[in-house]
Amino acid sequence: MTDRTLAPTAPTTLGATPTKPARRASAFSSHRMSFVTWLYLYVSLFFVAAIVLLPLLTTALGGFKTLGDLRVHPFGLPGEWQWSNYTDILLSARYWQMLGNSFLIATLTVALTLAVAAMAAFTFAHVTFFGSSFLLNYFLIGLMFPVATAILPLFIRIRDLGLLDTYWGVVLPQVAFGLGMSILLFRRFFQNVPKELFDAAFVDGCGYLGYFWHITLPLSRPILATVGIVSFVGSWNSYLLPLILLNSDSKYPWPLGIMVYQGEYSSDWQLILAFITLTILPTIIVFFAAQKHIVAGLTAGAVKG
């Protein structure tokens, strides 16, 4: 199914560029390419694209095959399309529960990250107080080490708080570990809001809280989107924290669920492939639907950190 989502999006993304035909033409006339250069360019690009897409396409197609068919022809189209591989999964409660769990955990993580980090960053950007730069550096320590370094004490803490095997037990550490980066991104954005706005608001009797709510937040949609995307993708794909902090299958997000499924059907590759395809499908659809924001968000999030 992956190939089906790829195909129709290709023309639309291509269609996005010809909106500036003039610029494109000029870029072309200034860099006239010889046929050899052209050939070298496209052969290389198609070769790399094939290496990227081949595993994904065989996964999606493999889900339509029988095990025997898969064994004989892992490449190519299925001899007989086994739609039931896919429909059985789509009709199972387990698939939707996994995605639901992931969605819930990711949504809670994003909401809490945005609220907590924006408030803290606002304080750092606009309020001068004793110890401000010390506290900011305190948060930036979090950028230096991965969650794995403190995973055992974290497990014990979550257990002692009674949050083991709960959604919040996963959400809270995820938010905490994302705070350093999020605060940094927010603060940089808030500082660039023109100071005149701030002064004008104060003259009009607007306090810090009012300024934050009525002026900063409405102006901050791009950075809210960036931070939101970074933390959503991080949470949606996260594996280590839920693996350690959740015990019951019914609460597993999809990366854990897919490993359990793989363990159960270890040699029925056709089912596993169908399952993989269906679990990465939401990611791929959202990626192509919102590609501009996602690429910008994920790279900007990285670069500015």
Binding site: V52, P55, L172, G180, Y208, F212
Partner: protein
């Protein structure tokens, strides 16, 4: 006017972040340092003080030195193979050529997928019975290889998946870097008759230096926390040949609930991360 407004902000806006961060990041890290000197199974209080024994044990475990070596191998491959590949592709698709946008998206796509999904997909690709490697082998009439079950080959198979998954991200970094280079340099060089390679060497490469350093930095950080992808591929096996520091921590510390030993691994990882972060920033990123 400003002063009265300050207090509610400080009281309302900072504590949530401070509390969360202290509770779930700083304290656990401090506790890891504390627990690393104890032999403890996680119940009751840590009482059995063992000094540096956990660290000594760690150093004598051959799986740990393998893991450490693998982490550095990943960094090496990222720099020697992945980085040039990403840069090469970036120079091609940052031009306004037909289809550039589509190629960019295709190359970036593996990065968006979860490591676990990528690992499982490649587990199938490498599968000696059903996978693509089996098919390729039968095409050439050779015995199908079980790459992931081979102690010597498995790590290279893992490295290939890492490059497959992450080169697109680094390519995007380079595209962003290339777009910041003033086009007039290239025009001037072209007028002076500089070849494509000369333009690349004397304009692109030096002006891209900050981005290259950034890319290396991300490779280092990514290598040190690599876990999700290894688990579906090999789980650290066969015979510990594909362990990374975090999979080692998981296998030897968490699944066996050896809090002291696991914390000692965490502390070593922490020291490596902080040393590299500070060292790298001090030496290479001073001017960025």
């Amino acid at each position: 006017m400003g002063i009265q407004g300050k207090l509610p902000v400080l009281v309302l806006f900072l504590p949530p972040a401070l509390l969360l961060f202290t509770l779930f990041v700083i304290l656990p890290m401090g506790e890891a340092a504390w627990y690393s000197f104890y032999d403890w199974n996680g119940y009751g209080l840590p009482e059995k003080f063992v000094g540096f024994r956990n660290f000594e044990l760690l150093w004598r475990t051959s799986a740990f030195t393998t893991a450490l070596g693998n982490n550095f191998l990943i960094i090496l491959v990222s720099i020697v193979i992945q980085l040039p590949l990403a840069l090469w592709l970036a120079t091609m698709v940052s031009n306004r050529i037909p289809g550039a946008v589509v190629f960019r998206l295709i190359f970036f796509m593996p990065y968006v997928l979860a490591d676990v999904a990528a690992g499982l997909i490649w587990r199938f690709v490498y599968d000696g019975d059903y996978g693509l490697f089996a098919a390729i082998a039968s095409m050439f009439n050779v015995a199908s290889p079980y790459v992931l079950a081979d102690r010597h080959l498995a790590i290279y198979a893992v490295l290939a998946v890492i490059v497959w998954k992450y080169f697109g991200f680094h390519m995007m970094l380079f595209i962003a870097g290339l777009q910041n280079i003033d086009k007039s340099y290239y025009e001037a060089a072209e007028i002076d008759g500089a070849s494509r390679w000369q333009r690349f060497r004397s304009i692109t490469l030096p002006l891209l230096a900050p981005t290259i350093r950034l890319s290396v930095f991300f490779s280092v950080v990514g290598s040190l926390q690599l876990f999700d992808m290894i688990m579906p591929l090999t789980g650290g096996g066969p015979s510990n040949s594909t362990q990374t520091m975090v999979t080692f921590l998981y296998t030897y510390g968490i699944t066996r609930m050896k809090v002291g030993f696991g914390s000692a691994i965490g502390v070593v990882l922490f020291i490596i991360c902080v040393t590299l972060a500070f060292g790298y920033r001090r030496i290479f990123m001073r001017n960025d």
